[in-house]
């Protein structure tokens, strides 16, 4: 089955990961910010998780619930639609990003508004909603402190949970001073002062907004309820005060029933902010007369998720609850940050989701499955037990297979040739003799300081070993003959 993939318009044309990473690795401010931030949250998370003796059981239950939901996704989506509608909401379906953006723009105009307040939503970042609305003359005000920092800084988010993690307090103060209308003179870089400035800046917008746009962490099929998990209160502002609320939600965010929240609300806060519970969680079902928006619209988004669903190994990525625990333990993410991944979804989960939603042919997406050492730290902390290393290796095969159509690839030639050598004892032994000979002749100093391409990257920062005069199998053959043990005991050589 070939389903067209999704698109993320704002991220078109991103460079490949190695190219982007080279720049990031050299950015000392970024490196310092990332090291400090990820190490802090890593330690806190471990403590929060250790408190629950049944963490592994919760994790396995979450995995089972998500896999079950995906296996019956059509049934549950229909149930969700029926229940949201029954409770006075409206449900829209969008195959791709452009369609979702157009639906939202249409609803905003129908509400007679030319601006919206937004609470953080990865799905709308994915579709490039803000840019699409701006092109339509509709202003979108980001209200999450970090998203506000990113928006005022004309920047891109670099982390799922803490999108401005690449900025330290001094940089944030500068952004506020230069770009936030009404920022107090003499604003310090104390986090409390910065937060207070954001509060003042956004308060009037909240109290007068006509249309709010949100995502949702979970959508409950059985009841038609949506759930938004947050810390600051801007989510509550956006989903409660405006007259019209539009929620854009990926189809994989659905859970079967209300009681499943006992599992996911135990896992999510501890995995993401390392707290027993985040400050605010809001749930609502359709429209409640006299309380909150009078007009509620749910936009269900595919944008390539059904492509991922069709991949037996890759679909586990759809279990993701966007906690970002994997980002915080990844040795690669810690050294490059989120922008190098060229996607709204960075880090380990980004490396397996982006190529599945967008396809494996763009330079960024073809390189993302390789942006990992396969160390497995992500799998260990994932609250829904996504085997990210397994998915990465699987996607690497997809990238390679997609390129097999092409006429010639130097890499494939190397792997094809080495494959033939490595499966033949005879050829392997011959190659070893050749390497040993070159070792004896050329590298008498015992170290290799520089290798030619494609291995030149190795010797930029490391010495390479010199092939020894005799391989193991040559030694065995010489001293022991055949496969068996020595014919007589004697000193080992």
């Amino acid at each position: 089955m070939t389903a067209p993939g999704g698109s993320m318009p704002t991220y078109l044309g991103m460079p490949s990961f190695p190219a982007a990473a080279r720049t990031a690795v050299a950015d000392s401010q970024l490196r310092a910010n990332l090291t400090h931030a990820t190490r802090t949250i890593r330690a806190k998370r471990a403590g929060a998780v250790a408190e629950l003796s049944d963490w592994e059981e919760l994790r396995q239950a979450a995995k089972a619930i998500k896999d079950h939901t995906l296996a019956h996704l059509d049934t549950y989506l229909l149930r969700l639609e029926a229940n949201v509608t029954r409770a006075g909401g409206h449900v829209h379906w969008a195959v791709g990003a452009d369609e979702a953006n157009a639906i939202v723009a249409g609803l905003v105009r129908a509400a007679g508004a030319n601006g919206i307040v937004k609470v953080k939503s990865m799905a709308t970042q994915e579709t490039g909603l803000n840019e699409a609305l701006a092109a339509d003359g509709i202003g979108a005000l980001e209200t999450d402190l970090a998203e506000l920092i990113v928006q005022l800084g004309h920047d891109r988010p670099s982390h799922i949970l803490v999108p401005a993690i690449h900025r330290n307090r001094a940089e944030i103060r500068e952004i506020f001073r230069r770009r936030m209308p009404g920022a107090p003179a003499g604003l310090t870089d104390e986090p409390a002062a910065l937060a207070a400035a954001a509060r003042a800046h956004l308060r009037q917008a909240f109290l007068s907004a006509q249309v709010g746009v949100s995502g949702a962490n979970f959508a409950i099929a059985e009841t038609g309820s949506l759930v938004v998990v947050e810390s600051e209160g801007n989510g509550r502002m956006c989903v409660t005060l405006p007259r019209t609320l539009i929620s854009v939600v990926g189809i994989e965010k659905i859970l079967p029933s209300w009681r499943d929240l006992e599992v996911f609300l135990a896992l999510l806060p501890r995995s993401s902010t390392a707290e027993r519970m985040n400050p605010y969680t809001s749930t609502w079902t359709g429209v409640t007369p006299g309380d909150g928006p009078e007009d509620f619209h749910l936009v269900l988004l595919d944008n390539g998720r059904t492509s991922a669903l069709a991949d037996r190994t890759g679909r586990q990525a759809l279990r993701c609850i966007r906690c970002s625990a994997c980002l915080n333990v990844c040795p690669v993410y810690e050294r490059v940050g989120g922008h190098a991944y060229g996607s709204p979804y960075p880090g380990p989960i980004g490396a397996i989701i982006s190529p599945q939603l967008r396809g494996v042919t763009s330079p960024a997406d073809a390189s993302l499955p390789y942006a990992s050492t396969l160390c497995g730290a992500c799998y260990e902390v994932c609250p829904v037990a996504i085997n990210i290393p397994e998915a990465l290796v699987h996607l690497r095969a997809k990238v390679v297979d997609a390129k097999r159509e092409k006429n010639f690839s130097p890499e494939r030639a190397v792997f094809s040739l080495s494959g033939r050598v490595l499966r033949s004892p005879r050829l392997l032994a011959a190659a070893q003799r050749a390497a040993a000979a070159s070792g004896r002749l050329v590298f008498r100093s015992g170290r290799i300081r520089r290798l030619p391409p494609p291995l030149a990257g190795w010797t930029e920062t490391r010495d390479a070993p010199v092939p020894p005069p005799e391989s193991f199998r040559a030694w065995w053959s010489r001293t022991r003959g055949g496969s068996g043990p020595p014919e007589r005991a004697g000193p080992r050589s």
Binding site: F17, P18, A21, V25, R31, P331, V332, R335, V336, P369, Y370, A371, S372, T373, L374, C375, G376, A377, Y379, V393, R396, A397, K398, V399, V400, D401, R412, F415, S416, S418, G419, L422, R423, S424, P425, L428, A431, Q432, R447, G457, W458, E460, T461, R462, D463, A464, P465, P467, P468, S471, F472, R473, W475, W476, S477, G482, S483, G484, P485, R492
Partner: protein, 245 residues
């Protein structure tokens, strides 16, 4: 016991002393070691880079060489992981029931060295003597895939004269990641830099690991820095005695 030694293509070609050390230790414990000459490579490099088709013949070669052995021992956690965790998937993808059956036979009997000694043979004192300050880096495959636990540390603690130093942030990846080191050399080097700094902070004279891939990578950086810290595979330390130091 008659043990089939899977020495691995890397150790065979570049670090034969590791292979010799494994033989020494196992024979010292009274076992018979075979080196089936038909062995080559487990196919991990190809499999992990996405060239799965090219890895299938290597899996066939492995089961052909090692079928029938009561135990197969290898001085590489990453190769043991490939055999135990990924050969079944490879056989299934190749649609080869014969291969799948052979894999089901040999994979559970394939052990990484420290697991074989400490958990299968239940031996931690293998008669080693190595009077040096040593720190141990647990490779990601040994730590998270094979879950060898503290087997290597128990073995090192039983070596006479050995001063075992804690490695700060031991569980952090070294940044090798196979072809990652070549495809993403900048990030690989950045990760390695922190591992090297930790090794030097430990005050150890020797860095030990159960995987020559990690050692080649960290050791190459330690050598480039003229750090004076040596690297040795776990097997080579265990093989040393008073006579052979």
């Amino acid at each position: 016991m008659r043990i089939g030694l899977f020495v691995t293509c890397l150790t065979d070609t570049l670090f034969p002393d590791t292979g010799k050390a494994v033989v020494t230790v196992l024979e010292r414990l009274g076992h018979q070691v075979d080196f089936p000459a038909g062995q080559t490579c487990c196919g991990q490099m190809h499999f992990n880079t996405g060239y799965r088709r090219e890895a299938v013949p290597m899996a066939r070669g492995f089961v052909a060489a090692f079928g029938g052995y009561q135990a197969v021992v290898t001085p590489s956690a990453s190769c043991a992981s490939m055999v135990r965790e990924y050969f079944p998937a490879l056989a299934a993808e190749a649609g080869d029931p014969g291969l799948a059956r052979a894999v089901a036979e040999v994979a559970p009997r394939t052990h990484e060295l420290s697991v074989f000694l400490a958990d299968v043979l239940r031996v931690t004192d293998v008669g080693g003597y190595f009077p040096h300050r040593v720190t141990y880096h647990p490779s990601c495959h040994s730590l998270r895939m094979l879950r060898v636990g503290d087997a290597p540390l128990r073995l090192l603690r039983a070596v006479r004269g050995l001063d075992l130093a804690d490695l700060p942030d031991a569980e952090a990846c070294c940044g090798f990641g196979g072809t990652f080191a070549v495809k993403n050399p900048d990030v690989s080097a950045a990760i390695c830099a922190d591992k090297v700094a930790a090794v030097r902070r430990s005050g150890a004279e020797v860095l030990c690991a159960a995987d020559n891939s990690c050692l080649m990578h960290i050791g190459g950086a330690l050598a480039r820095q003229r750090s004076g810290v040596a690297v040795m595979h776990l097997a080579e330390i265990l093989a040393r005695t008073e006579e052979t130091r």
